[in-house]
């Protein structure tokens, strides 16, 4: 049985490395053009090459989004761009336009994955693209477990589904609200997320139609057993802490399933971690039922700021036996914290001392980006992170 793939978003090179180190089997990235996140940092050709080298050393993969809805002018340079990206070592393109699909398949030996932008929702459509040489289909987010299974059973196609992150309210590719409301082209990478705006009506309350985020943690077992090939996390513009946490949780769920060790207790613990890192409420949407009133927000844009992420570990002071970290959020002596590593090791401790770069003692860490030190007995791998378990509630801040 081929192990299911965990596919994670990477908005830049640092995120790509963190994704792969924390357990993603593959990442998807955007180039400087032709992707649906035109306003993310995205990757230059040199960065794509570096990212591919990094991934391939770990025997992992990098996919590039090329999934805008193309206008005439977009076609002018795309062919030479594709050639350069293939040379850079990309493993697959994520594409929505069938002409681009045929161009790639006719000219290069590289995989093509059909983007969810096509909202593929039935086995006949999958069959069409299979006949066109597409290697994988990212299905529409509007499908149920039964429908996904039927598609896999009838087409034997490599199928990818979203498991975590933000959801479009409308069918992907079938929404141009952003074009009309903000003049930003939704299908060319400029989506202004108008579905999170609040609109006036004749009623006493605004009309809102933002959806809760997707969280499929408790259905990973089902997705594996119905034959899905790849599980996709949304969020190329998410923070490194969010990515490390979400990827780490899903890695543990998947590995535990294959080692017959996925207990309810473990799932509950991981679900709690996922809930804490989320900045919006989550739901399962269409997987077990039709999406309904419980899957939406009714109060406009609701995004909570998560302050659990305390810092990124960037080195070790051997002389003083201290971890060196770049602070992200406030913490203080007495706080209970958890250090987690890309190797999935976790260390819980109480902060006894905080030092600045020159080993001057501090009582609190209150300046984001400040370089600090905390005592710890051993060196930890790069990209280890610190999260807050519990604030010391008795002290004023």
């Amino acid at each position: 049985m081929k192990k299911i793939e965990l596919l994670a978003p990477a908005g830049d090179l640092e995120r790509l490395k963190i994704d792969l180190l924390y357990g993603a089997d593959a990442v998807y990235i955007g180039g400087e053009n032709y992707g649906l996140r035109a306003n993310a940092p995205n990757f230059t050709l040199d960065e794509i090459k570096e990212g591919c080298l990094f991934a391939h050393k770990l025997k992992k993969k990098v996919y590039l989004t090329l999934n805008i809805v193309f206008h005439n002018e977009d076609m002018k340079d795309v062919f030479s761009y594709i050639e350069k990206v293939v040379e850079a070592g990309i493993d697959a393109f994520i594409v929505s336009d069938p002409f681009i699909i045929s161009f790639i398949k006719d000219n290069f030996k590289v995989e093509v994955h059909l983007s969810t932008q096509n909202s593929t929702s039935n086995y006949k459509s999958v069959e069409y693209f299979k006949n066109e040489g597409v290697d994988r289909v990212v299905l529409a987010r509007e499908l149920s477990k039964i429908e996904i299974k039927e598609i896999i059973d009838k087409t034997k196609m490599d199928i990818e589904v979203f498991i975590h992150g933000a959801m479009c309210t409308c069918y992907s590719g079938r929404c141009s609200l952003s074009n009309y409301v903000t003049n930003r082209d939704a299908n060319r990478g400029g989506c202004a997320q108008v579905c999170r705006f609040a609109f006036k009506t004749d009623e006493e309350k605004d009309f809102t139609f933002a959806t809760k985020d997707l969280n499929m943690a408790k259905y990973i077992k089902d997705l594996i057993e119905i034959g899905v090939s790849s599980l996709k996390i949304e969020g190329r513009m998410r923070s490194i802490y969010y990515l490390a946490t979400v990827i780490g949780c899903y890695r543990e769920i998947i590995d535990s399933y294959y080692s017959n060790d996925l207990t309810d207790r473990k799932l509950t613990r991981l679900q709690q971690i996922l809930d804490r890192v989320a900045n919006r409420a989550t739901a399962e949407h269409y997987f077990m039922k039709e999406a309904d009133a419980t899957d939406q927000y009714y109060s406009g844009r609701v995004e909570l700021s998560n302050q659990d992420y305390l810092g990124l570990i960037i080195g070790y002071d051997k002389k003083n036996k201290c971890l060196i970290l770049r602070e992200r959020n406030y913490f203080e002596v007495g706080d209970e914290i958890e250090i987690f590593t890309p190797e999935h090791k976790n260390y819980k401790l109480v902060v006894k001392n905080i030092y600045d770069e020159n080993m001057n003692k501090l009582l609190v860490a209150r300046h984001p980006e400040e370089i600090l030190k905390i005592e710890f007995c051993e060196e930890l791998p790069k990209y280890s992170m610190i999260r807050l378990i519990k604030k010391n509630e008795n002290k004023s801040r």
Partner: protein, 288 residues
């Protein structure tokens, strides 16, 4: 250049005034005010043999819809219709599987934006394309000149903006603890633009509550040998018949009568994206 219409009510009088009509197939189409059974389509085809009848099948197709779709395509293939508008690629696959002769029209609402992809579809047996409404006139002309498909350009109507599978009005009214309406108008707070939101069994449609009036560019489209223009009746019910009669006459007279253009300035000055290019990169990439 031919004139196509899509009506918001069943009105056969207009069939004598136009070259063709788009009819939405009941059960398999969305974003229409009026839907037709196959029997009704058959009657139109036999009663108006010169009328080009295009059948719209534009809902997102799910596995459970496929048998119904297959039966419908087989029946439609036997009628003398001009073509089937498709959104879901399943229709292209079924045309191949069933060896159907009926022509297809690429009608993926917001996606028909370049001529290379039109030509891809042409090579795959698609004869027509209804262009997206979010592209400029210059882009349209470039497509008309370079596409092997026959192009259809929507010049008058209320634009469909988005479609969701979710029951957004039912959900909204459920939160308000009120009985649900299936149609409301919402106002965007900054632009003050209004959108009509309509819910039915397939989901929720959003329309801009403003009429696009591109009667002023029909001459340009004509001179560039555009095969079809399309007018939709929704939102224009009171003037539509007269508009259609005048437009047909205008085209027949090689679009040289300026009084037509002057007369239809009454429909407003909103020309949608014909002269306004959308943007998509709002932050300058620091690496550039």
């Amino acid at each position: 250049m031919k004139l196509l219409v899509e009506l918001s009510e069943k009105n056969e009088d207009i069939y004598k005034e136009v070259d063709g009509v788009i009819v939405a197939l009941k059960g398999l189409a969305i974003e229409s005010d009026v839907y037709y059974t196959i029997k009704e389509i058959e009657n139109i085809v036999s009663k108006y043999p010169k009328l080009e009848v295009f059948v719209k099948i534009n809902k997102n197709i799910f596995n459970k819809d496929l048998e119904i779709l297959k039966e419908a395509l087989i029946k439609l293939d036997k009628l003398n219709i001009k073509g089937i508008l498709f959104y879901d690629i399943a229709i292209l696959q079924l045309k191949k599987d069933l060896k159907l002769n009926v022509e297809l029209v690429w009608n993926q609402t917001h996606m028909v934006n370049n001529y290379e992809t039109c030509n891809y579809y042409y090579e795959h047996g698609v004869k027509y394309a209804i262009l997206g409404k979010e592209i400029t006139l210059d882009e349209i002309i470039e497509i008309v000149k370079n596409a092997k498909t026959q192009t259809i350009v929507e010049v008058v109507g209320i634009p469909s903006v988005a479609f969701s599978k979710r029951k957004l009005l039912s959900n909204y009214y459920s939160d308000l603890h009120k009985s649900a309406k299936n149609k409301i108008v919402i106002e965007e707070k900054i632009t003050k633009d209004h959108y009509e939101v309509i819910e039915d069994d397939n989901g929720t449609s959003f329309y801009l509550d403003k009429v696009v009036n591109a009667t002023g560019i029909i001459r340009t489209l004509y001179l560039n040998e555009t095969e079809y223009i399309l007018m939709r009746e929704k939102g224009l019910e009171k003037v539509f018949y007269e508009l259609v009669v005048d437009t047909k006459k205008y085209i027949d007279n090689k679009c040289e009568d300026n009084t037509y253009v002057d007369k239809y300035k009454m429909l407003g000055e909103f020309t949608n994206f014909f002269f306004k290019k959308t943007i998509y990169r709002v932050k300058k990439n620091e690496k550039n």
